[in-house]
């Protein structure tokens, strides 16, 4: 099971350590640093490192390494998922998870970590349960505490949701305005060939929800054409059997923000891209090259396409790029060789275009 956790910043300081079993000396992190110096980028450190006595699994998020140390054989995905969960919880509590925010709330962080794992086993990880056990710091409470003079960050009673069959929702939720929002986010990965035709395209989609409903609401969500979804994975609140039999998403939602489901639409289904690209890129030996890209909308169904950003990763040999666009701003970072062009809204009458050498 997860034995210890170290949080390390980019400059290599271990500023937080937590041990769930016996104490492991932080010198174990030397193996990690060794791997870190070998990798050229901070992201390129291999996630699983074996050392003579321990296994080190880490994730790199927001310029922080969350390094878990194990002594026994544990499913690595289990650890990685759990580290993600720790990160998410910290974001949930402190609205961001950075070195300063963690240091600022170090005692709360420590208490949370202790609550999340017991002897390396996950104990309470659902955000609403945790929040009842350990109150998140907020401005109002700080004032209340200073006024009343007593500051207890702890719920003294057992959280109600902890043991019910719906651990993700606490009982007795009340709102004056009952509302639920669903965001559908679809990421399309596509490869476009020289002629501007999409070679492959696949969609990774998510439905993120913000539910503020009183009591124990039971919701259903239906799709017009559920067949195109290749692979779905649901939040634990969704009744899977009903999806299997009727293709209906039926669930009692958690309170607040959560990801209801994610799905994948593979390359077998024809994915229609919302935009098309026309490009002509040519490099010449030594002297430079030409670069010309035009973006245009496809079958827009009456909607305008907004917030278009084009990023081009140039090869390392490119020293500089002088580009002019007829719309939006563009910038070229000579260190990472990344050109970013913020196009904004696409007007079908005047197609955005970028040119340069």
């Amino acid at each position: 099971m997860i034995h210890s956790l170290f949080v390390i910043n980019c400059s290599g300081d271990i500023f937080l350590e937590k041990h769930w079993k016996s104490v492991i000396n932080k010198s174990v992190c030397d193996y990690f640093f060794e791997a870190q110096t070998k990798a050229s980028n901070p992201e390129d450190v291999p996630p699983v490192i074996v050392t003579p006595h321990h296994y080190i699994i880490h994730i790199f998020r927001n310029k922080l390494y969350f390094v878990a140390v194990l002594t026994t054989e544990v499913a690595p995905l289990f650890v990685i998922e759990f580290l993600h969960r720790i990160f998410d919880t910290m974001v949930d509590y402190f609205s961001e998870c950075s070195e300063t925010s963690l240091k600022e709330h170090i005692v709360v962080v420590y208490e949370i970590l202790d609550e999340m794992l017991d002897n390396g086993f996950p104990l309470a990880v659902e955000s609403n349960v945790l929040k009842e056990l350990i109150k998140p710091p907020n401005f109002l409470r700080t004032i209340a505490d200073t006024v009343t003079g007593k500051a207890s960050g702890f719920g003294a009673t057992l959280p109600s949701g902890q043991l019910s069959t719906v651990p993700w929702r606490r009982t007795g939720v009340k709102y004056t305005n009952n509302e639920a929002y669903f965001d559908m986010i679809e990421e399309i990965d596509a490869i476009i060939d020289k002629a501007g035709i999409a070679v492959t395209a696949e969609i990774q989609g998510y439905i993120d929800s913000q539910v503020k409903l009183s009591g124990m609401p039971d919701l259903t969500l239906t799709f017009v054409n559920p067949r195109i979804l290749d692979d779905v994975s649901f939040h634990p609140c969704v009744r899977f059997s009903r999806w299997e039999s009727e293709k209906i998403v039926s669930f009692i939602p958690p309170d607040g923000q959560f990801r209801l489901m994610s799905y994948h639409i593979g390359s077998y289904n024809s994915v229609n891209l919302p935009i098309y690209l026309k490009h002509s890129i040519a490099y010449r030996e030594g002297s430079g090259g030409k670069f010309d890209v035009t973006i245009g909308p496809k079958q827009n169904l009456g909607k305008t396409i907004e917030n278009v950003v084009l990023q081009v990763q140039f090869p390392k040999t490119v020293l500089s790029a002088t580009l002019t666009s007829n719309q939006g701003k563009n910038s070229f970072d000579p260190v990472s060789k990344l050109m970013t062009w913020d196009v904004g809204r696409i007007d079908p009458a005047k197609l955005p275009n970028i040119k340069g050498s």
Partner: protein
């Protein structure tokens, strides 16, 4: 009001100040002080000096303060056991508290205090908490059992906590069940004594499956892992478990998904492979695996490592998903390399064009490691898919044209492999390769290029000039290059002896006189002697036909793969090593895949075994890295017995002795002769083997090399099997080819199909001085443990001496297992023949036998195949025969002999069909002897 202020106190008297604050009367001040202490603790400062003061704060009603003190206690109790004991009373009292939160907290904290004295007091409260009315307390208590087991395993077993834990598996609350499962699996991992009491049965599995749907995602991981360790009774049970596990494949948590994949992969072994259900499962497995690849890079990495195993085991699962493994430009390098590996595994004729186009793109990327691997991948494609070889080669040529240094070098290394796979096909490109000669600076690339020049010396007009140019800096070259250069020049000389004499002399003198490297010197001497005594022989040795290299050079060995499949989703699957290879000092259980039992006879032992290490097949597939080494060795026939013999056959034993090298060689050759078992009785040590084989009339196959000296650190083992006086013997000859004496020989067998095991310890001359051999007969019995091997007659053997333990496997000739009791009564024979259904009968032909019916039956009788009746039907002799194996299997045979014909027809009838090929082989060998 943030906590960062706690970090700022760095004054000298900090500890004293805190001490004063901790002893303050004001609760607020106390709490602040404890917080400061905790803050120092989290950053690794030593605040253990405050132990007594902090513990004093423990008796409080304030839950927050209590929690903070508990946090402190967990960290430091070990350093101050005597003071820690004063906290026990508070713990025991808290365990009785009406608030379940406090009860749970107390029992949880107590378990974390790793002090023996405290654990003694823990037992009573823990027992109560395990039966607590509140599930929250029960679930915490379950974990506490695992903690306690870690501290004091004996105590847990004595106090009967294991049974209590097992009872929790039937708890009404799924969360409690999940934690109990987690605790049990942790205990099982470290303890072997707890095994029997925590064994899973179908009842508990059922309960787990019910809890699976309701518990948290983490609980699901634990439950799935322990289900995967359960061996279902039959196909039906496996199928029903799979049915209930498949919904987990759609879980949002990647760990749950992969654990579910593991269960299904493992159970698929039991299911009927051609059934609809397996086809359906295969279909269901693919989308979740693909989805894992759109997760965070860390998850992708673990998933890819596992997919690598899965595609090796069941390529059909992902055969249509090639595109998802295409590399994205922003993937971290470790993901890119893994994807590349899997792409190669999935390559087939259908998608080669696509893959090749991708690989070509990759080869122009910026990351050097990645580019190298891509170029190598193109070469592997060529070797794997023959139809595409041409296209691959042309792609490689395009890449060579780019003149990017490392691309060119890598391309040359892989082209060498392609030449080895498809000899005499693509030699037209050699000219292009030669153009790039000057740019090569890496040893591997240089060596490959030299190999190519040497191999095709007759087609390269200026081969001598090219090699000569390499020769100029001979002393500065890497050993690999030197060895290769030596061989290449000798090849060149043999092919074009007229104009290269000077060159070969130059290289031989460089190698033998100016080099400090013994390998190089030895090889130089061997070539020199070969060339000076018998150039024809040298030609045959050096230019011998080389075996083609295998298609997949880096496949995981099947037994290891099966074991790793059982460990999908675990660390083992990421390292591709069995857990016992990297988990230190633990009695880790080896897991094996369950087998489909239908149609197998006499095979019962399926459980995992701990004792014998995995025996390596003696035909090891060379890894990519060792390829070049192999290639070099091949020329002088180091490890391949075939070439050794060939060499011996060519060289007359009376080697003219003049130089110092002769002694060395002469002795070496004698040993080689002995090892090869060529039949010369010049060696005293060997004669008794041949003698014994003459005494007995039963057929004994000639000895073969089981363990070449190269693999046995100088120890060569040759041997065969024989049957004498109703006993089975393993005839062994040990040859010491190392420089030091060997002693302390011992031998052990792995479980095998017939339960063969040594009946007596290995009796052999010890110590065995260098360059001597010793022979022995090892008496075997068949009372060992049985496990079906593939092929059936494989026997895995471990031999130990003072240098190390070596593994090899050999084939048991079937006829040594024929017993003397195999003779049947005529009536019995007739009855049995009719009883066995006709579809069990197989026919085969034994060709080219120069004996008549009487000698045949005599020969067979000597080997315990008994002729029961002989009939003459239409001019044909029909022999009816019976034999029986050591494990009681009876085989009936009918041998049809036509006078004047050398082809006999053999019909076999038996209840166990697996053994037919081996019986046929045995007949064949006996009759041809």
């Amino acid at each position: 009001m943030t906590d960062s202020k706690y970090f700022t106190t760095t004054k000298k008297g900090e500890i004293f100040e805190l001490k004063a604050e901790l002893n303050s009367d004001k609760k607020e001040k106390k709490k602040e002080a404890v917080k400061k202490v905790i803050a120092s603790m989290t950053v690794g400062k030593d605040v253990s000096a405050l132990f007594a003061d902090v513990v004093n704060c423990m008796q409080t009603d304030n839950l927050e303060l209590k929690k903070l003190v508990y946090l402190y206690l967990m960290n430091y109790a070990k350093t101050q056991p005597d003071v820690a004991i004063i906290s026990v009373n508070t713990f025991v009292r808290d365990c009785e508290d009406p608030n379940p939160l406090i009860r749970a907290l107390a029992v949880r904290t107590m378990g974390c205090i790793r002090v023996d004295k405290i654990t003694e007091y823990l037992c009573e409260p823990l027992r109560k908490c395990l039966k607590d009315e509140d599930p929250y307390v029960r679930k915490t208590a379950a974990v506490c059992v695992a903690k306690l087991h870690d501290i004091n395993a004996q105590l847990v077993e004595d106090q009967g906590f294991l049974d209590a834990l097992k009872d929790l598996l039937s708890d009404s609350n799924p969360m409690v069940v999940a934690n109990a499962v987690a605790a049990i699996s942790e205990i099982l991992e470290t303890s072997t004594t707890a095994q029997p009491s925590l064994e899973m049965n179908s009842g508990t599995i059922n309960k787990l499956l019910t809890a699976l749907n309701e518990c948290t995602e983490w609980g699901q991981v634990f439950i799935l892992d322990s289900i995967s360790n359960y061996a279902p009774k039959d196909e039906k049970e496996a199928q029903s478990i799979c049915e209930r596990v498949t919904p987990r494949l759609a879980h949002a948590n990647a760990a749950v998904v992969l654990s579910a994949v593991k269960v299904i992969m493992k159970y698929m072994e039991i299911l009927d492979i051609h059934g609809d259900y397996v086809t359906m499962l295969v279909k269901k497995l693919s989308p979740p695996l693909v989805t894992l690849l759109s997760a965070e890079p860390e998850i992708q990495y673990v998933a890819l490592r596992n997919i690598n195993l899965i595609v090796q085991k069941r390529p059909d699962i992902l055969k249509n998903e090639m595109k998802v493994f295409f590399v994205k430009y922003n993937d971290p390098i470790y993901v890119k390399l893994e994807k590349l590996d899997i792409m190669i595994r999935l390559t087939n004729q259908g998608n080669i064009a696509q893959v090749l186009a991708e690989l070509k793109e990759y080869a122009t990327e910026v990351d050097v490691d990645f580019v190298r691997k891509s170029v190598r991948a193109i070469g592997r494609c060529a070797i794997k898919v023959e139809q595409a070889a041409e296209r691959c080669v042309s792609t490689l040529l395009d890449l060579i044209q780019t003149k990017v240094n490392y691309v060119v070098q890598e391309a040359i290394v892989v082209i060498k492999d392609i030449f080895r796979k498809y000899p005499n096909k693509y030699e037209s490109i050699i000219a292009t390769l030669c153009e790039n000669l000057d740019t090569l600076d890496e040893p591997e690339a240089r060596a490959s290029m030299i190999w190519i020049i040497g191999e095709y010396a007759e087609r390269i007009d200026n081969a001598d000039e090219l090699l000569e140019s390499f020769l100029e800096g001979f002393q500065d070259e890497n050993t690999q290059v030197q060895l290769q250069l030596l061989t290449a020049i000798v090849k060149l000389f043999l092919k074009r002896p007229t104009d290269t004499q000077e060159l070969v002399q130059q290289v031989l003198s460089l190698a033998t006189q100016d080099s400090d490297n013994p390998d190089l010197r030895d090889r130089g001497y061997i070539y020199w002697r070969l060339l000076s005594t018998d150039p024809a022989a040298a030609k045959e040795v050096v230019l011998a036909e080389k075996p083609l290299i295998s298609e997949e050079t880096d496949l995981i060995e099947p037994t290891l793969l099966d074991e790793l499949i059982c460990h999908i989703a675990s660390l083992a699957s990421v390292y591709h090593k069995p857990p016992n290879a990297f988990v230190e000092g633990r009695g880790v259980m080896r897991r094996s895949l369950p087998r489909n039992q239908s149609g197998e006879a006499g095979v019962s032992d399926l459980t995992a075994d701990v004792s014998p290490p995995p025996a390596q097949q003696s035909t090891v597939i060379p890894g990519v890295d060792s390829l070049i080494g192999d290639l070099l060795d091949m020329d002088i026939g180091g490890p391949t017995p075939y070439q050794q013999q060939q060499m011996m056959g060519q060289i007359p034993p009376s080697v003219p002795a003049s130089t110092g090298a002769v002694d060395l060689l002469g002795e070496g050759l004698d040993n080689l002769l002995g090892g090869g078992g060529g039949g010369m009785d010049t060696l005293g040590g060997l004669s008794d083997i041949f003698g014994s084989s003459a005494q007995t009339s039963s057929y004994t196959p000639p000895q073969e090399v089981w363990l070449p000296a190269a693999k046995g650190k100088g120890m060569e083992v040759t041997g065969t099997f024989a049957r004498r006086n109703k006993k089975i013997y393993m005839e062994l000859t040990f040859t010491n080819k190392a420089m030091q004496p060997m002693m302390n020989f011992a031998i052990q067998f792995n479980k095998n199909s017939f339960g063969l095991q040594p009946a007596s310890p290995l009796q052999i001359q010890s110590p065995l001085p260098p360059n001597q051999s010793a022979s022995t007969s090892l008496h075997l019995n068949t009372q060992g443990q049985i496990q079906k091997m593939e092929p059936l007659t494989t026997l895995q053997v471990a031999v130990k001496n003072n240098i190390g333990v070596f593994y090899y496997s050999c084939q048991i000739p079937m006829h040594v297992l024929f017993t003397e009791e195999g003779e049947m009564d005529k009536k019995d024979f007739l009855a049995s023949w009719k009883e066995i259904p006709a579809q069990n009968e197989v026919q085969s032909t034994i060709t080219n036998v120069q004996h008549n019916a009487d000698t045949v039956s005599q020969k067979l009788r000597n080997n315990n195949i008994f002729t029961i009746a002989k009939r003459n039907v239409e001019g044909q002799d029909m022999l009816y025969q019976s034999l029986s194996l050591t494990n009681g299997i009876r085989i009936l045979a009918e041998l049809k002999i036509q006078p004047g014909m050398t082809n006999f027809t053999l019909s076999l009838k038996c209840r166990v069909q697996d053994i037919y090929p081996f019986i046929q082989q045995a007949f064949d060998q006996i009759l041809h002897n």
